[in-house]
């Protein structure tokens, strides 16, 4: 289904999360949805369990990030609790050759791309701007400049298209990002050139303190058709809906049908970052309401009801999560700060006389202290 513009324009707010496609109710009951169903009919119990496992791992990793920040090991952390389904679900649908362009909050997407323990923490610790090898996990450095990655993803997709490959680019960003010019320009380019790119907007209701209503008076998914890009508005706390929507979009891209847009309606359970104080701008009642729609509990309930997950399976997942957290902690605490002169590395790809002189001067200056 493409998103049509039949949705009434809304005054004073955007449609709530009831107005979304889903196949799992908050209590885990499976409901039919003609649009999504065909894309997930073949999911095996093994795949479903993997989805659940990665969501638990993501949550544990996120909790570890927060703890490390509180203990002074990280300068900052951007929690993703509550957004595990959209991150893990969409990442599960990807092929190895696809390339993601994440924001700073996409820990579950990086997990899906095979990030290593240090990859999650070194930037937040202030050791590197981006720790991972983008080629190893087919992921661009996490983007902090809101929305910039949407253009990069589109350009990458234009390249893939030129190369005759079936690889797809995916840009992840939040609801706030959709206000940026870059995000709108990306849709123009993607649409004009039929680029194989998927835009995944995690509408977590807030851009720091600003509710989504400051960015949008009409469902965000409703904008894409105006650019000639079909879209889906899905329940971002339903992992299966996320897999389905992503498979739909990837299939379109691989068949040469161009860009797609997914608005995954979800919720940021924690603060924007560890320096934020959400009690200044949102109600405890709202958080409580969303707690009832928890993405992990939902999939868990479904898997248990279907006999695909039991206590011992849960225990195994918990052990894997603890192991990952321990590895991340070790990578963080064991990190060594690079020598000062390395800050001059990689400013240019080729030698640059001015910078080399500056480096030499600074090294000589530092050595002066040792005399």
């Amino acid at each position: 289904m493409t998103y049509t513009q039949t949705q009434d324009s809304v005054t004073g707010g955007v449609p709530d999360e009831g107005d979304v496609l889903r196949v799992l109710e908050p209590d885990g009951a499976r409901v039919p949805d003609a649009t999504l169903e065909p894309w997930i009919a073949d999911l095996s119990p093994h795949e479903l369990r993997a989805l659940h496992r990665d969501m638990v791992l993501t949550r544990r990793l996120d909790a570890e990030g927060v703890a490390l920040q509180r203990q002074g090991q990280l300068a900052l952390w951007a929690p993703c609790r509550g957004q595990e389904a959209v991150q893990v679900g969409t990442a599960h649908a990807l092929a190895p050759g696809d390339f993601v362009f994440p924001s700073y909050r996409e820990h579950g997407v990086l997990l899906g791309r095979g990030a290593q323990p240090a990859d999650y923490v070194l930037a937040w610790r202030g050791e590197e701007h981006s720790a991972y090898d983008h080629r190893a996990i087919n992921a661009a450095p996490p983007q902090i400049i809101i929305g910039a990655q949407s253009l990069h993803a589109t350009g990458w997709a234009m390249g893939a298209q030129r190369d005759g490959s079936t690889d797809v680019a995916v840009a992840y960003y939040g609801d706030g990002a959709t206000s940026q010019g870059d995000v709108n320009e990306a849709m123009v380019f993607a649409s004009s050139f039929g680029a194989p790119v998927v835009f995944v907007c995690s509408n977590n209701q807030w851009a720091i303190s600003e509710p989504v209503t400051v960015q949008a008076k009409y469902p965000i998914a409703g904008r894409a058709p105006g650019f000639g890009i079909p879209s889906l508005r899905i329940d971002g706390n339903d992992a299966l809906a996320c897999v389905a929507a992503m498979r739909w979009a990837l299939d379109r891209a691989r068949r040469g049908e161009g860009p797609s847009f997914i608005e995954a309606v979800t919720y940021r359970m924690g603060p924007h970052t560890t320096s934020d104080d959400p009690t200044r701008y949102r109600d405890a009642a709202e958080v409580e309401e969303w707690t009832q729609r928890d993405p992990i509990a939902r999939l868990e309930a479904y898997l248990r009801a279907e006999g695909m997950l039991d206590d011992s399976g849960m225990a195994e997942v918990a052990r894997a999560a603890d192991a990952l957290a321990a590895e991340v902690r070790t990578a963080c605490i064991g990190a060594t700060t690079r020598a000062p002169e390395t800050m001059f590395d990689h400013v240019y790809a080729e030698p640059h006389a001015g910078l080399e002189r500056q480096r030499a001067e600074y090294v000589a200056y530092l050595e002066g202290f040792e005399k």
């Binding site: 300068a75 900052l76 700073y104 930037a123 937040w124 610790r125 202030g126 050791e127 590197e128 701007h129 902090i144 400049i145 809101i146 706030g176 990002a177 206000s179 940026q180 010019g181 870059d182 851009a207 720091i208 303190s209 600003e210 400051v214 960015q215 320096s275 934020d276 104080d277 200044r280 701008y281 700060t337 690079r338 000062p340 390395t342 800050m343 001059f344 400013v347 001015g354 910078l355 500056q358 600074y362 200056y365 002066g368 202290f369 005399k371």
Partner: protein, 333 residues
């Protein structure tokens, strides 16, 4: 006199501006309910309402571009760019539109617009949160560029900026947001030194250190340390980067004959380069030694664990002081 942090002095200035002129508007991301990510606008929306303290969509070009329209309509918008590194999406609006409209309209259009930017590093922040973009704006004709270094100046200069009919880029050193100083909240703007004038932050006779923003604090610390060494250093706080008050700078250099310029922005084509060129032009015959620059390196702002090697500290300043005093390589303490 009241002891205020730099952040609360700015809050007080904004409050005063909103109170005294109903054409003044504040616009920015998270400035309302949250009071800004640094709480600089704390309580202002509560007090003046959401029509005057506006939480905008997350779009810097949008914020500055609509402020241009509001200014055309007679308002005096004070916009907040959340962090230094996020001003670039608005760069086109600032340098192509804000800076040029008065000129293009033969003076018929006024752009009484203030762009506040929490600025520069030293606070252990993430990437894009510690940048020093001032040279881009200084290089652009039509903009006034100022930098506060203490609560009193922040309070007075911001009010002067709001009152100015020219667009003002107002840099707020975020590593001083919590540092306190005495502020005269009832100061009459008419009596205050205009914001384009530099300030002699400390008098001295052996050499001059010229700086601005958070580096003023570091330079004063260096001067204090040099005093133990029997040296008398003069410290000039530029306050305004465009225009630069060359009279004050030149008078000091003529007196001391030796000058060190320091800022944390990169060296190449930075404000320091402009200063040294002007000093050379105007004070060549008074100079006893080549002027020295102590700046951030010509690299992107490094990861926070290395930033102490990038932002010039007291030792790097003293090292350069030794050089202008021709005391060999520099005395390292």
């Amino acid at each position: 006199m009241t002891a205020l942090t730099l952040g609360s002095a700015i809050n007080a200035a904004l409050s005063k501006a909103l109170e005294s002129d109903d054409k003044v508007l504040l616009m920015g991301e998270d400035i309302g309910k949250l009071g800004g990510v640094f709480r600089v606008t704390d309580g202002l929306q509560q007090r003046f309402g959401a029509q005057r303290v506006i939480d905008t969509p997350l779009a810097e070009a949008g914020i500055v571009g609509t402020a241009v329209g509001l200014a055309l309509r007679g308002y005096r918008p004070v916009v907040e760019i959340q962090f230094d590194g996020f001003v670039y999406p608005a760069f086109d609006q600032i340098v192509c539109q804000v800076a040029k409209l008065h000129y293009r309209s033969n003076g018929r259009i006024r752009m009484p617009l203030v762009i506040r930017i929490p600025w520069a590093g030293g606070v252990g922040a993430a990437e894009h949160h510690s940048e020093s973009p001032e040279a881009y704006f200084v290089h652009t004709a039509g903009l006034r560029v100022v930098a506060a270094s203490n609560p009193q100046d922040a309070y007075v200069m911001l009010r002067q900026a709001v009152a100015s009919d020219d667009p003002v880029i107002f840099f707020e050193p975020k590593r001083l947001y919590h540092s306190k100083g005495e502020v005269d909240l009832d100061a009459d703007l008419a009596d205050a030194p205009p914001m384009h004038l530099a300030r002699v932050a400390r008098e001295g006779t052996d050499a001059t250190i010229v700086t601005y923003g958070a580096q003023v604090r570091t330079a004063l610390d260096a001067a204090l340390a040099a005093e133990d060494d029997g040296l008398s250093l003069e410290v000039i706080d530029l306050r305004s980067l465009s225009p630069i008050d060359m009279n004050t700078v030149a008078a000091s250099v003529r007196k001391t004959g030796r000058v060190v310029v320091t800022h944390e922005a990169a060296r190449e084509a930075g404000v320091g380069a402009e200063l040294v060129a002007s000093i050379t032009e105007q004070c060549f015959e008074y100079l006893e030694a080549p002027p020295q620059r102590v700046t951030g390196h010509d690299i992107p702002y490094p990861p926070s664990k290395l930033e102490k090697h990038h932002v010039p500290d007291l030792d790097r300043i003293l090292f350069a002081v030794d050089r202008v005093l021709e005391r060999g390589e520099g005395v390292l303490r």
